[in-house]
C-alpha cells in the first residue's frame, strides 16, 4: 500500500474477527517497524510483550479485563503490550550513541565526537536526565509513542485492523511480571477487522489552522486547498465520518457479538 493510503486508511478498529488469528510473519513485521523508529540517543526505550489472546491463560486475560476494557481484549486475537524501559539509559551508559558516531550518523560536522559522547553526554547529560523523573519520562514516552505508531501503521499496511488502548499500567506490569523499571504504556490490539475497513469514515479532526502555526504562535499555517485535493486523490484525506450506513453496521455488529447499544 502507498504510504499516504496507509495514513489515510488507518482507523482505530474496535471490532475484530475474534477467531481469525494474525499470521506470525505479520506480527514480526509490525515489531520490525517499531525497532526502526526514530529514537533519541539511540536508547530504544520501547519494549513489547506479544500475546496471542487464546494462548494467554484465562485467569491472566480475566485479570487484564476491567469494566472499561473487557470487550476489546476479548475481540482482538493479538495484543501487543508496550512498555517503556526506563532503566535502559543507565544500563547502556551512552554506548549506543557511540555506535551512531561510529556509523557516521553523528559526525563532527554537527559537533559530535567520541570524546564528547564518552566524557560529556552520558555523565553530564543523560545520567542527570534520568534523575529528573518527570522530564525523563516525557522524553522516553515521546520516543515510545513514535515507535508504537510505526507499529500501528505497519499493521494497517499489512491489511490488519489495529487500535491503541490504555490498559491499567500497574496491572500489566504484574500480569507479565516485567522488570521493576518498565512502565506500562499502551496495548496495540490487532486483528482482522469485523467492521468494514472504512469503519464509518475518517474521524473528525480539529481544523488544520487550529493546530499548526507558521513562524510564531497565533499565526496559523495556511492550508493550501490544492494540496488537500492532491492528498484526497492519493487516499490520505478520505471521506469523513459518519459514512452512510455506519449506524446500521454498528447495530449488526452489536447483534453479532451480543453488545449493548
Amino acid at each position: 500500500m502507498e504510504f499516504k493510503q496507509v495514513v489515510g486508511r488507518r482507523r482505530s478498529i474496535r471490532f475484530f474477527e475474534p477467531d481469525k488469528p494474525v499470521e506470525r510473519e505479520k506480527i514480526q513485521t509490525i515489531l520490525e517497524a517499531a525497532r526502526l523508529a526514530s529514537c533519541a540517543v539511540n536508547a530504544h526505550w520501547l519494549r513489547a510483550i506479544v500475546v496471542e489472546r487464546d494462548k494467554l491463560p484465562k485467569e491472566k486475560l480475566d485479570q487484564l479485563k476491567t469494566p472499561v476494557a473487557a470487550l476489546t481484549l476479548d475481540l482482538a486475537p493479538l495484543h501487543i503490550y508496550f512498555f517503556c524501559d526506563l532503566g535502559i539509559v543507565n544500563r547502556i551508559e551512552g554506548s549506543r550513541l557511540r555506535e551512531l558516531v561510529d556509523a557516521g550518523a553523528l559526525a563532527p560536522t554537527h559537533g559530535w565526537s567520541h570524546k564528547f559522547v564518552d566524557d560529556i553526554v552520558y555523565p553530564h547529560i543523560l545520567k542527570p536526565m534520568t534523575q529528573n523523573r518527570e522530564g525523563y519520562l516525557a522524553a522516553a514516552m515521546a520516543d515510545c509513542g513514535g515507535a508504537a505508531h510505526m507499529a500501528l501503521l505497519t499493521a494497517v499496511d499489512e491489511g490488519l485492523g489495529a487500535c491503541l488502548n490504555t490498559p491499567n499500567p500497574a496491572l500489566v506490569k504484574q500480569v507479565f511480571n516485567v522488570p521493576e523499571d518498565w512502565v506500562g504504556l499502551w496495548v496495540l490490539l490487532v486483528g482482522y477487522p469485523a467492521e468494514s475497513w472504512e469503519a464509518g469514515g475518517q474521524r473528525p479532526r480539529p481544523p488544520f489552522e487550529e493546530l499548526y502555526f507558521e513562524g510564531e504562535y497565533g499565526k496559523p499555517f495556511k492550508r493550501d486547498p490544492a494540496v488537500v485535493e492532491k492528498l484526497k486523490a492519493a487516499g490520505m484525506i478520505q471521506a469523513p465520518a459518519p459514512l452512510p450506513g455506519r449506524q446500521e453496521e454498528i447495530r449488526k455488529l452489536a447483534e453479532r457479538f451480543g453488545l449493548p447499544i
Binding site: P18, K65, T66, P67, V68, A69, A70, L71, T72, D74, L75, Q247, R251, E255, R256, F257, G258, L259, P260, I261
Partner: protein, 116 residues
Amino acid sequence: MTLTKAIGEYETARTWFEGLRQQWGEEPSDWEERLKALAAFCAFAEKDPDTMVRECLRDSVSGKRISAKGRRFYSDKIAEWQASVPGERAAQGRAGNAVRSFLIHNGIFLQSGMQA
C-alpha cells in the same frame, strides 16, 4: 426496595431514552422491554435507577467523575443478575446489555465481554 414511581419516570431513565434516540436517530422500538429489564435489575440490586447512576459517580474538585469502585460494583452485579435471568444465554445477554446500555447512556463508560 420498592420503586417510588414508574421506572420510566426516573430522571436517569429519561436520560437513557434521550441517549438512545440521539444515538440512533429514532425512538427505541424495544423501549418497554428495556425498561422491564431495568426494573428487574433494580429489584435484584435493591436500588432505584437514579441511585445506581449516582453510585457510579463521585465528587471531585473538578466536578462529577466516574467512581471506579461504583462502576466495578454494578458491572459485577449486572453479570451476576444476568446469569440468573431465565432463558438461553442470548436472552440473558440481551437483558444484561439493556442495563449496561442504561448506565452507558447515563455517562458511565462501561464494557462487558461478548454476550453472544
